[in-house]
Symmetry: C2
Subunit: 210 residues, 2 copies
DNA sequence: GGCTCCTAACTGAACGTTCGTTTGGGTAAC
DNA sequence: GTTACCCAAACGAACGTTCAGTTAGGAGCC
């Protein structure tokens, strides 16, 4: 439950189908609450068959994590590739980031579970494969948009805001009484963009009337 | 102050000591990963002894949740009681909220786990006992500070931001290379306050100079 | 074609361990 | 004697894992 191999092992089709089911189950219930028999039942096979492809349960979980986390930064390239103004790019980036988490509950939940588990090696995997690219990109944009502010802190805030909001959704449904819709997600992204742009770009100008 | 609490079951000292240990273990490892034997060992007793005080494992977990979640809104009263200007109160509230999560890892982790578990009844408990009071208070403040903006969305954003940041801490340590300190937490609270105050209070005024 | 050989993929059954829970009895206090 | 509390021991079920044996399919040779 600790060391993580950094090399990609070229997975067979069968292995991928196992991991596909594993990611769903582990995301939904957590590592300890998913048994090998549960996983085997899900893909209509036997526990022993799984041990033909993976040495133990831990290896399945780690491989499933890798499978979900890998290549997560690819789509980011198309988002920031254009030579739009930084604030436009930032807006696209915030929307993309929000969708990344809300359209992909398996990813979102595995990320949350890993943050809770706190395993050092897997935290590094999470950081490098999932978090680093958006963070660096937002950091870069914020550095251009608001050089006076702490770009790292701003980037952290944006990611934290998006993550926290997606997580809070069920609570907010209870608090505000309305179900989460595509529209409220759009609203949130726009809200966040305005919050960041106005909050961080505004020169710290006192309220004294000129 | 003569209200009678209808829900509190009047826990004995022994029960409280059991729940105290249970909260720590469940927060750290999650429900499925903590066995009755683990819990019994932690408080130097036997599994059977626990069944004298609680009917089953689930009841222990639920009671532990209640024990941590209960009276969470009490301290909030002193925060918002003063008749300071709304923006000053908001700043105190943000700092308080940040400390609430970061100084209390057991609470923070149980909240995160409950958000992941998604059980309807326990989500309602979480919402009412932990989330509602700060949410309503921030909502009220924001309504006074920025009547034009969606106060619920703003309140949700603030709570999401604080929650997300606390969660992200281990990842940020990897990304920025520096360990989390009391100071960086203060910085975050101040940063958030400015973000919210400037970002939401600034009238949507185009950049054209008057 | 048929035949052998090999290997990957899988199965059914079982291993020992740990799980949540129960039982029956014991001890101290009222 | 009743009650509250606790223990040692055990219950059946489920756990991760192993193992001997079966199947399917291709390669190599005739």
């Amino acid at each position: 439950m600790s060391s993580v191999d950094l090399t990609a092992p070229a997975l067979s089709d069968r292995k991928i189908s196992i991991l596909e089911a594993a990611t769903v189950l582990f995301a939904k219930h957590g590592y300890a609450a998913v048994s090998i028999r549960d996983l085997a039942r899900e893909i209509h096979t036997t526990p022993a068959a799984l041990y033909h492809h993976f040495p133990d349960k831990d290896a399945i979980y780690t491989a499933a994590l890798r499978h979900v986390f890998s290549d997560r930064a690819k789509a980011l390239g198309t988002i920031v590739k254009g030579d739009d103004a930084p604030d436009v790019t930032l807006e696209r980036l915030i929307i993309w980031l929000t969708q990344q988490f809300s359209d992909n509950p398996v990813l979102a939940r595995l990320v949350q579970r890993e943050l809770l588990a706190g395993d050092r090696d897997r935290l590094r995997l999470l950081t490098e494969d999932v978090m680093a690219a958006p963070f660096r990109e937002i950091e870069r944009l914020m550095h251009r948009l608001a050089p006076a502010k702490d770009a790292s802190l701003s980037a952290a805030s944006i990611i934290a805001l998006v993550m926290g909001y997606v997580q809070l959704t069920p609570v907010l449904e209870v608090l505000t009484g309305q179900r989460n819709t595509k529209q409220s997600l759009k609203d949130f992204a726009a809200h966040t963009k305005n919050l960041v742009l106005h909050g961080l770009l505004a020169q710290p100008q006192p309220k004294a009337p000129s």
